[in-house]
């Protein structure tokens, strides 16, 4: 290291100059709003505060304490976990299945199917909701008509608190699996063909090839897909919002972000809504850390 302190200093100065634009943008549009949000979550900022700023109280952690006593918050938390823990793995499984089908040598019309799988991802959720509401209609819906042939009838998909969330999960899987499928497909196309040839020579069947070559080779893709899906699903809003704008029967499809939207933008309880946002952040952050730890342990 022949660098003189002076040269180092000028290099550091150059680095600062290069970083400054990006850091400024991040500071102004990310760090500051986050700090402002955190401060907001410690106040009772609401419609009265908007009228007169002096009508704002610093309430410490009582918004957070209020969340703990708030029955609706726990309902929303439970619904969100239900959605993420059931819907997430199912979405990934369907996406992987679709990617394997698309990657199969015997598959025909691949571009067509790729488009079909991806179409829901880029379709407007509002248009999707109109169609799916008809599919789920208890009397004239396609789903119940089909179920009628096998002797099941009268399920009120969006109206029964037991079925509303599963119905939303099915819609979300259909809407979102295409994105992960395309990423899995890219991952699959990167698996070296030689590995399969070698395995075949060693006498491995398709199942063993899948378990011992495809899955391990896809591990990095899995990590990416599962984190992106988990983050997206914890913040689920659009699907339940368009299907059941009020949060469904008995709030059975009310998610954390829907509750935050309702409190913040409908009732203007900004302080309380900000505290919900930070709790959600903590949950997603904790979840990501946990999954990282689990992966590290399993790869050891």
């Amino acid at each position: 290291m022949s660098r003189t302190p002076r040269a180092f200093r000028s290099e550091a100065r150059a680095a600062v100059v290069f970083l400054l634009p990006a850091l400024t943008l991040i500071g102004v549009f990310f760090v500051l709003p986050v700090i402002a949000g955190l401060v907001l979550s410690l106040t009772d900022f609401d419609i009265y505060s908007l009228g007169r700023t002096a009508d704002t109280r610093f309430v410490g952690l009582s918004n957070y304490a209020g969340l703990a006593d708030n029955g609706v918050f726990w309902v929303a938390m439970r619904n969100t976990l239900y959605f993420a823990l059931v819907g997430g793995p199912l979405t990934i499984a369907v996406a992987l299945g679709a990617a394997l089908l698309l990657n199969a040598k015997a598959a025909r019309l691949k571009p067509l199917f790729r488009t079909i799988y991806f179409a829901p991802v880029v379709t407007s959720i509002v248009a999707v909701a109109v169609v799916w509401r008809f599919l789920y209609h208890p009397r004239v819906g396609l789903l119940n008509t089909l179920l009628g042939y096998v002797g099941i009838s009268g399920i009120d998909w969006l109206g029964d608190p037991r079925f509303a969330m599963p119905a939303i999960i099915v819609l979300a899987i259909w809407k979102n699996f295409g994105y992960s499928a395309i990423i899995f497909l890219a991952g699959l196309q990167n698996v070296p063909e030689e590995l399969f040839e070698a395995a075949k020579m060693d006498g491995a069947g398709p199942v063993r090839q899948f378990l011992h070559i495809t899955l391990p080779e896809l591990a990095p893709t899995f990590v990416f897909v599962s984190i992106i899906t988990a983050i997206g699903y914890f913040q689920i809003f659009a699907e339940p919002y368009v299907m059941t704008p009020e949060g469904g029967p008995l709030n059975s499809t009310l998610t954390i972000v829907m509750l935050m939207y309702r409190e913040g933008f409908r009732w203007w309880n900004m302080g309380f809504a900000a505290s919900i946002a930070f709790v959600l952040f903590a949950v997603v952050f904790g979840g990501s850390l946990l999954s990282k730890r689990i992966r590290r342990r399993s790869s050891r």
């Binding site: 009772d44 609401d46 419609i47 009265y48 908007l50 009228g51 007169r52 009508d55 109280r57 509401r133 008809f134 209609h137 208890p138 009397r139 004239v140 009120d156 969006l158 109206g159 299907m243 059941t244 704008p245 009020e246 469904g248 029967p249 008995l250 709030n251 933008f265 409908r266 009732w267 203007w268």
Partner: protein, 423 residues
Amino acid sequence: MTRRLVAASLVSACLAACVGSHGGREVQVVEFWGMGREGEVVAELVPEFERRNPGIHVVVQQIPWTAAHEKLLTAHVGGSLPDIAQMGNTWIPEFQVVRALEDLTPYASRSATVRRGEFFDGIWETSLIDGHLFGVPWYVDTRVLFYRTDLLREAGFANPPRTWSEWVNACRALREKNRNPSFKPILLPTNEWPQPVVLALNSGATFVNDDATARFVDPRFLEGFTFYLDFFSRGDAPVVAGSQIANLYQQFGEGEFAMLITGPWNVGEMRRRLPADKQDEWTTAPIPARDGAPYPGLSIAGGSSLAIFATSPRKDAAWKFVEFLTEPEQQVRFYELSGNLPARRAAWDAPALQKDREMAAFRTQLDHTVALPRIPEWERIATAVFEEGELAARGRFDAAEGARRLDVRVNAMLDKRRWVLSR
């Protein structure tokens, strides 16, 4: 405040520059925000106003209803409110709290046309906060009973129910006579607050006390709330939310239910969407009265008022537009264009309204409306009413427990208001 003024004057300067002046005279540009269909329709009324007032040019900005509330609030925060806007009645207390609205009391006291007695009482009161006027009623929206005349006749009722016990009897008869297995006598969507609120009004509920405390554990609320819930427990009403009803009009036309409580916009919708052979088989009636109370019963007074914003530098010109829009002739034109009911009594003498079969019930009902609590929290409180109502309708608890839960929830919502009032 000054920043807001600067922004407002910049906007107006730009508008004035863009529009220029008519015939070399100074022209004031008044910006009006209208919501949804009303925003479209009001543009058709503007030419007549500008003909009469050559010095004023009205620019109409149309805003979708779903975004209107958020847009008005953010415009207030950002200092970009227009001069005048159409405001949903329940928003007036909220915008008054944030000090966005001009007190119109002095304007009204000077006015030759905008006077209290000219308007329906219940609707005038919705814009009145602590004796000050913050909006002039433009159109009203109240709830009445829509019913299938043929189905009621088959069940032995030639006339719509006039009292609560007649109502219950009619439901029972309908249930017994109707062969359709999915038939229910009445539709009361569990995600709508007007139905339980209207019924509670009829037993005298006031929901909130003057000192911002809740008033649900009160026989006057409980009686109406119990009456509402009994429709579900007797099987007279299905426990469904509005979002579960794929096509209300189709189901009403097919006779899946015989009655519903809804507003004037559905008169036009029913006429458009029900099949031709069913058009003479439905009509409207005022809300049935609680047993022992005079007929008709009470209903809510909704609709929109015209409000002038405190930041507007052209309040006199804006007020002229308010006077114009609320004069009887324009109210009738507005009704013909949009189907919205005039807030002014005199407008109801017009043949278009007099001859309309379905409008008679609305005319009667408008003399029997009650203003709801004028506090910013009201919409939240109303939401809580239907939420607890839904839980009770699904059998989680009884009406008394629902009222107790409402007291707890609403008192928590009003905590801030009590603190502000105490200051």
